[in-house]
Symmetry: C2
Subunit: 198 residues, 2 copies
């Protein structure tokens, strides 16, 4: 038998496969279907590598990557709450904390502590790594909405002010990416994907 530590790690690796079946609101860029959390997390990880040069404070890229790869893992138990659905976001923190306790406990103790800590750091958004992860987590769905003719903004008739509020973390991590996001929003308004009144 392989050692007990490796068995625990593999149990975690098998468990997280479920993230491939947690579907988000936003569509793929080709518009064919909704995106799942594993795909979304993969996309953020690639974006972290490609866009690292734009962060305003230096970041530890490995920590950012571990963070974005697993930032939505709690949704295996807690589900995806659409960011503009206030009812679905009630009690979300408590549900996600319980999910984190269960899922990370599959790992050996040292890794349980490490990854639970990284997830909590992401949630608190107080370090440069967490701010960059949040920036990417807001930027990516915005690109998807833009390239799917408004996507979930149109589908749920989301008001411009709410979208602008939602995008603030982009500027908090990177002035340059924040400027890009504002341009894209202006263009989305010009194209009729977003409206002042909702």
């Amino acid at each position: 038998m392989a050692n007990a530590r490796l068995r625990q790690q593999l149990e975690f690796i098998v468990e997280i496969d479920k993230l491939k079946q947690v579907f988000r609101q936003n569509l793929l860029i080709d518009g064919s279907r909704r995106e799942n959390d594993a795909e979304h997390s993969w996309h953020l990880a690639v974006m972290a590598c490609i866009l690292q040069e734009y962060v305003d404070e230096p970041v530890d890229l490995v920590r950012v990557l571990k963070m974005v790869l697993l930032h939505d893992l709690v949704e295996v138990d807690a589900g995806d709450a659409f960011c503009y659905d206030e009812a679905a976001n009630l009690n979300k923190s408590a549900r996600e904390a319980a999910a984190a306790e269960r899922i990370y406990a599959l790992l050996p103790e040292d890794q349980r502590a490490e990854y639970l800590g990284i997830w909590q750091e992401f949630e608190e958004r107080r370090t440069p790594e967490a701010r960059f992860a949040a920036c990417l987590d807001r930027l990516q769905p915005m690109l998807h909405n833009y390239y799917t003719y408004g996507g979930t903004w149109v589908e749920h008739n989301v008001p411009l002010a709410k979208v602008k509020k939602r995008l603030e973390p982009i500027r908090e991590a990177s002035a340059e990416l924040g400027e890009f996001a504002e341009e894209l929003i202006r263009d989305a308004v010009a194209r009729g994907y977003l409206h002042e009144g909702g």
Copy 2:
């Protein structure tokens, strides 16, 4: 307008979304559907973080992560060739090289050279990072096959000898993971998922 460099990088980020629609042979662990390349790449990246301690030679984890995140990107153009399908693997290298030339050229020149180099390093499997990436790329589908009652081994009646050959890169990167893989194969034979004669 955001700077031209950022525009190029975002064009790449939009293009790679297509990897979410390149489907592999192996099933998700719940057996419900085939897995796509983006999900597979995400899974390898998490495995790289969790299993790094088992590599026999030290690795640069950032390089491994960049490698596994994009190792299958060429399949956006070249498609997924099932590893046990010899006909589908004819000319695969040439098709993939052409795909890499096209897709990485979307990036600014410095990043084009970096990521094309990382992909070529993965293909050549001569560095510790590339050996670890190959190890994960063989281990993950093996786990999926095991947990789906034989999965593509059963579906395509793959002979045990071919599976053993396919798993050699696991041992080349990590004696411990290699030992685990051998145990899993023995167990797969005992459960009737794999047969000596095919």
